[in-house]
Amino acid sequence: MEVIELTETGYSKKVLEHFMNPKNVGAIENPDGYGKVGNPVCGDLMEMFIKVKDDTITEIKFKTFGCGSAIATSSMVTEMAKGMHVDDALKITRNDVADELDGLPPKKMHCSNLAADALHAAIKDYKAKKTGKK
């Protein structure tokens, strides 16, 4: 019974921890990079804010509208990317996020996709701004 619940609809303990106590929630004023992905019509919308120093992510915050795994993956991706070089952070994939959370139900994999996408969007925004400044 429990196994079925876990694989059919259930979340790992880690997902639930990040859902109940998400890390790095909020917005950053004047961020060095900002990314927004998803759409409320589809049920998921994420905003990612980063502060960058010497191409390293020093501060990262998010806001998410969506289901439990959308919130958990947002929280996890911020934890993973914090302190990382932006080029390394760009390499974080949806599977990396899901793996760090001890897995996601198959139909929820798109949520982790969104979290990584939001991070990538924020980094690309940072890079575009940087290039623009030069």
Partner: protein, 384 residues
């Protein structure tokens, strides 16, 4: 923290009195009602007693109007496919409201593949069937019209007598899915003018795995499960006596206690609605007054329903339901919420509470606090 279970439309605990009555049919009186020895006759008696109790609950003409099935899904399938196929000479059209349960809509879609026409009957923003539009849609060729007695997601109760009048002006049969209404509000198949009626055991505190279909005398059906010819040939298969006996006893208790219990739950429901609507940007879904006594459904803007469900479960030990896409198999929001005119982003933020026998009025402050804090927390996380 003690559990507060508020999702009785999804599953209800078996009433202890029902279990006490029915368990003898698992342990001791295990016979096959089709056999002629004493063990078989014991089971046969249980089966017919149960039929009698269902007959009384819905004021059917006689016991022979009741067919036992495996549940509401099978009853809906038998009613719709069975009536459509048996009465094909009358026409190949079937109609149903846009807010019917998936176990009504999908059998009709299957008929569509075999050449039947499927007409959808719209509802208004409170979920009430628009009888004028329905009248314009129905024709002499329409063999089955399926309208639910009350909706499981928004609680709206349909004016079934009025609907029956409109249906029978032109069309053949009215099928009513009373899964959510049965045992909760008075259902009188003769007075309401119903030809086929679906009932579910678990929705009235009976065991899961039993359902019934009322078939008005003279209504013609083709079986969808051919075999040994049990249940007047309409539903073959050895009867599941334990669940059927349980359903019968559940129906008997529901009928006896309906007036008092619905009054108690209505009071609790109204207080709950009052408390929850204090939350900013919260809205009631469904009809404000024509609704099931145990049903309170809402939507909250800027947040998503699965998060509400999880947060209430983990943080407050309160179990609710939602029509959000994230909890469905298809990742589409509830077709019911879309049918009453909600936008996708509005439908995502839905929360459904269905009260039951175990709920007490003094639970309301904890529920109201839990919902309020949940909505506030999720809104803080939300970029909208």
């Amino acid at each position: 923290m003690e559990r507060i279970y508020l999702d009785h439309a999804s599953a209800s605990p078996v009433d202890p009195r029902v279990l006490e009555y029915a368990e003898q049919y698992l342990k001791l009186r295990f016979g096959n009602p089709s056999t002629l020895h004493s063990k078989g006759l014991e089971a046969k008696k249980a089966l017919e007693d149960a039929r009698g109790k269902i007959t009384e609950l819905i004021n059917a003409e006689s016991e022979s109007s009741i067919i036992f099935t495996s549940g509401a899904t099978e009853s809906n399938n038998l009613a719709i496919k069975g009536a459509a196929m048996r009465n094909i000479q009358k026409g190949k059209k079937v109609a149903a409201s846009t807010i019917e349960h998936i176990s009504v809509l999908n059998p009709i879609k299957e008929l569509q593949k075999s050449g039947w026409e499927f007409n959808l009957i719209p509802v208004d923003s409170t979920g009430l069937v628009d009888t004028e539009k329905m009248n314009a849609i129905l024709t002499e060729d329409t063999t089955v019209v399926s309208i639910m007695y009350a909706n499981n997601e928004i609680g709206t109760i349909q004016p079934i007598s009025e609907i029956s009048r409109v249906v029978h002006e032109k069309s053949l049969y009215l099928h009513v899915d009373a899964t959510a209404a049965g045992g909760r509000i008075p259902v009188d198949v003769q007075n309401d003018g119903i030809d086929l009626l679906t009932l579910s055991s678990n929705d009235m505190y009976g065991p899961q795995g039993a359902g019934a279909l009322y078939v008005k005398p003279g209504v013609k059906l083709q079986p969808i499960l051919p075999g040994g010819g049990q249940e007047r040939g309409l539903r073959s298969g050895t009867e599941n006596i334990f669940t059927i006996a349980g359903m019968g006893e559940a129906a008997r208790i529901a009928k006896n206690e309906m007036v008092e219990e619905s009054r108690r739950l209505e009071k609790m429901r109204d207080k709950l609605i009052e408390e929850i609507l204090r939350i900013e940007e919260s809205y009631l879904t469904g009809h404000p007054t024509q609704r099931l006594p145990h049903h309170a459904s809402f939507r909250f803007s800027r947040i998503e329903g699965e998060s509400i469900l999880l947060n209430l479960d983990m943080g407050y030990n309160i179990q609710v339901s939602t029509g959000s896409a994230c909890t469905s198999r298809t990742l589409e929001p509830s077709h019911v919420l879309l049918a009453i005119g909600l936008k996708h982003e509005e439908a995502h933020g839905s929360m459904i509470i269905t009260l039951g026998r175990s709920n007490k009025i003094d639970e309301i402050p904890r529920i109201a606090k839990g919902v309020k804090e949940t909505v506030e927390r999720l809104r803080k996380l939300s970029p909208l």
